[in-house]
């Protein structure tokens, strides 16, 4: 299923989780799963002030579309969405949202994990953490481009 997308996949605006969730309701869906990846106030034993995200936007948007389409195909979802913010993300704010809807919860949960896993590890988006001590670091390097590394998230 190649669903039409009526939202910005990569946005500079804070994510509006309520509005995104409102898009997910579907008469055939008995389960809707929403994952929000949020900025926490600590990492590497240090206090975190904020995160900043950068993306290679055209490739990131195209890859997320393909990942959503693949999840739709694997789990026959009624709805799948992924939106990622770029720029500054404050503590407790959402950097990325994945929503999946399906007839039963198992498919919605599995598909949701599959989508966020691939987005985090494959899509050209980068996180920079800014610590309270004034230092900063780019997110942990991870380059799981090998699809075999995603077997645990494949269709059951």
């Amino acid at each position: 299923m190649e669903a039409e997308i009526h939202y910005k996949i990569i946005t500079e605006q804070p994510l509006d989780l309520v509005s995104l969730l409102a898009m997910a309701h579907h008469p055939n869906a008995g389960a809707v799963v929403l994952f929000s990846g949020e900025a926490r106030n600590h990492n590497l034993g240090k206090a975190v002030d904020r995160l900043e995200f950068e993306a290679f936007v055209p490739m990131a948007e195209q890859m997320i579309k393909e990942i959503l389409a693949e999840a739709n195909r694997k789990w026959e979802l009624n709805f799948a969405l992924c939106q990622h913010q770029v720029g500054k993300v404050g503590i407790c704010e959402s950097a990325v949202c994945v929503i999946t809807a399906s007839a039963h919860r198992k498919e919605a949960y599995h598909a949701n994990q599959y989508i966020i896993h691939r987005v985090k590890h494959e899509v050209p988006i980068w996180k920079r953490e800014f610590f309270s001590d004034g230092s900063s670091t780019w997110g942990n390097n991870c380059n799981c481009a090998d699809p075999m590394k995603h077997e645990e998230f494949s269709a059951q």
Partner: protein, 96 residues
Amino acid sequence: MMSTANNIETHLRNTKSGGMTIRVFAILKDYLDEEFIIPRPIDSIAELKKELAMLHPEIQKLLESCRFAVANSFVDHTFQFKENDTIYIVPPSSGG
């Protein structure tokens, strides 16, 4: 670090035609300009990595973990760059 990088970019900008445009992201911007020109044709990823590592040894290991893209598509080590291609160097992802 930045002064060395700036010297390299100045060197690379000396000639703009007939070369390759390089666009980098995220951590690579700590070492290189976001966009710069290599003023001669580069044929392959291996040649590009060798060129950049020679100019900037501290990114040699990082380059080994990067992906490369042309025209919004990732390309592998067998891809032959064309003159005037814009090459995107994509560090390991860390979104989410």
